[in-house]
Amino acid sequence: MKHIQNTAINYSDLFDDFRHPQSGAVVLFSGEVRDNNRGRAVTHLEYEAYEPMANKMIGEILEEAKSRFNLNQAACVHRVGRVEISGCAVVVITGSGHRKEAYEANRYIIDRVKNEVPIWKHEFFADGTSEWGQNCDCVTDDNHHHHHHHNYERAE
């Protein structure tokens, strides 16, 4: 699956492949695993996806962003499986003639991927417990998605 992968994301390679003669601006966002969340020590994350649908939706979001922001290129890859602290969970790269579009499109893509695409984060904490992730923080930002926050703890 082009946009979903279960091995480490090598964003340097992705970035190197991203040159375009009409792009004066290339923006790379890497979403990385923090060692803490809401005051709790995190040991690692595991991501699950409904892979065929997630792959298709990310492809559609990229196509929409390319036309909306007049990008020369756009790429996004999201991990599934276990990701360690400081590991890359998701990368978004955008390229355009000038920086404004590349920055705006990058933000647009990551916000939509986090909010809409069927991918889920399972957080593992230092105290041995784990939780399925809450919806992303971008709901409080300047975009207007209507998602509920949920937090359901694992049974064991």
């Binding site: 986090k114 992730g133 919806n135 992303c136 509920h148 949920h150 359901y152």
Partner: protein, 80 residues
């Protein structure tokens, strides 16, 4: 008819990787979510914000369940 339902993420705690539910003729997707909530009341809160996908497309929850294909129960996204 009996419909297969595939679950993801936190929903597996309540229903396993997949489950099947007897769907009455004319039942809506919303009605199915309600039925699942009756089967496991602890799941009601998350079911209230679930979407349903059929053939890799989200379906309007008020639509009547029509074809024989598997339903995918999609809890709120938490990627990134």
């Amino acid at each position: 008819m009996n419909r297969k339902i595939v679950c993801f993420a936190g929903l597996k705690k309540f229903f396993g990787d997949e489950t099947s539910v007897e769907v009455a003729s004319g039942e809506s997707y919303a009605g199915l979510l309600e039925q699942l909530g009756e089967l496991n009341p602890e799941a009601k809160e998350v079911l209230a914000s679930c979407r349903i996908a059929v053939n890799e497309e989200f379906v309007p929850l008020n639509d009547t369940i029509k074809d024989q294909t598997t339903l995918f129960l999609i809890p709120p996204s938490s990627g990134g």
